[in-house]
Symmetry: C2
Subunit: 287 residues, 2 copies
């Protein structure tokens, strides 16, 4: 049992369409509101050495990244904070507040709870013009497959490459990039929080085409020997990059640093250098 299998249980109850995107979609006059909620907690998500401020920052960034992946502008955030030590609250909320402010969102509410371990659920609301909304579905054969920035850095830090600490401790969600990409007309998008490989498989589930990427084109985290760097870039989790597809005609898109790593193909498979790319990456394991 893994996260994606468990999600099927939820799909049976709330409907498959409600589980496909990084955010839910709400009609909002002539615009669209997107909504996302994310749970983080000490055991799984907050790495030793993180300050309360960094924990708060990360908790905001996770939801801001989901909003970015729909090409929406973050507007409102709520935080439910379960604490084992109340002394952490001020630092956590200051970090969350600073991250929200940097990316244009306002903290509008929350809940405080006493809990056995620090547990933070951030809920984010964003707004986007209907015609610029981007979902996971929408890719067409022939589209380019692209990724912003460099994946694998967060996992690289966990593997001992301390130069990549910032990627994990103070992640920068691709908020302005997401909106630029939406306006440019990209066809499908999601964030890469569980690695490029799993993200491509998620896009496969949502689309009626497949994806073929070239390993030589995937950007690699700096200062790491090659087989490991490539492994991290494809399968490492904890990054906040965007993966998207776009028609060749609109490439290059000005104002966003991204790399073309492959193409959408009619064949409903995920390939790397012509061979199947494993459905492997960061997932919670369930007994």
């Amino acid at each position: 049992m893994d996260d994606r299998e468990l999600l099927k249980t939820v799909m049976g109850i709330v409907g498959r369409d409600r589980c496909l995107d990084d955010c839910a979609i709400i009609p909002f006059g002539d615009k669209v509101m997107v909504a996302t909620t994310d749970m983080l907690h000490a055991t799984t998500d907050f790495v030793g050495g993180m300050s309360d401020w960094e924990i708060g920052w990360m908790s905001a960034a996770v939801s801001l990244s989901d909003i970015a992946s729909m090409a929406a502008a973050p507007k409102y955030m709520l935080f439910a904070v379960g604490l084992d030590r109340w002394e952490q609250l001020a630092g956590v909320m200051q970090g969350a507040s600073d991250c929200c402010r940097k990316y244009g969102a306002e903290i509008i509410g929350g809940d405080i709870d006493r809990h056995g371990e620090l547990t933070i659920v951030s809920t984010g609301l964003g707004i986007v013009e209907k015609q610029y909304l981007v979902r996971r579905t929408g890719a067409r054969p022939g589209d380019l497959v692209c990724v912003t920035g460099t994946c694998g850095q967060a996992q690289a830090f966990l593997d001992g490459y301390s130069q990549h600490k910032a990627a994990l401790f103070t992640p920068q969600p691709r908020v302005s990039e997401g909106q630029i990409l939406g306006k440019a007309g990209v066809t499908a998008m999601m964030d890469v929080s569980d690695g490029i490989a799993l993200s491509l498989h998620d896009l496969l589930d949502a689309n009626s085409c497949g994806f073929s990427i070239e390993s030589a084109k995937v950007p690699l985290p700096a200062g790491i020997p090659d087989p490991q760097a490539r492994e991290l870039a494809l399968f490492g989790g904890g990054d906040y990059e965007l993966i998207f597809t776009c028609p060749e005609e609109i490439h290059p898109i000005a104002g966003v640093r991204y790399t073309v790593i492959g193409k959408a193909i009619p064949d409903r498979r995920v390939l790397i250098d012509g061979r199947p790319l494993k459905k492997r990456g960061y997932q919670h394991r369930w007994g």
Copy 2:
């Protein structure tokens, strides 16, 4: 240190006005969207003997009650579920889904996390016409102080009165009542989740008047000897009733079962039978 003191820390970071109501308020065209988030978890909130379905129901009801207290109609819900045993997910989500459906809300998204104990954060969004929105602030001296239903039943069950099990296990948030009260023109409202006494003190903090109630008028949970029944009604937590103030002219309000228990007074105190009512009720305790 208690919840309300800790809240002051948050007020310093996100602003006092953001922390006063049961829900945050978002402009939504010519209407208003309200948003609330609530964390519940096994150790504190889910009583032994509750089924997964009841746990899910309760998790939805908590946020639906906050929406009701703003006189809004629940529309959208998100659930972040942290599980120690994945087998619980289906039952929890079915209970949440059934509660949402009963009260007119749709589950639009969520998150699943592996966690040391079952932890559920429900986030609710509701809609209300601007002129019908009711906040905690707005009470005026001379207004009647009223409460729906009967408080103290949830705590009564915990104290061994098994006839009150339903109040705790399958709470019924006052969703239609809240909307009727808003349209009728009540002046201030909140839900009574931490007891009547604490709620009156919360209303005191939000308003420039005080409140004076009569113990003989407070509805008592059935089948409990008197001093204990009164204690439960005033100080017991875990109920989902609404407490509100309204001008005498609009009383009685048709379509809602409620009891007048007192009046708003110019003196900024909370009184019962002319004596100060203790600021006591359900609160988390912090070291």
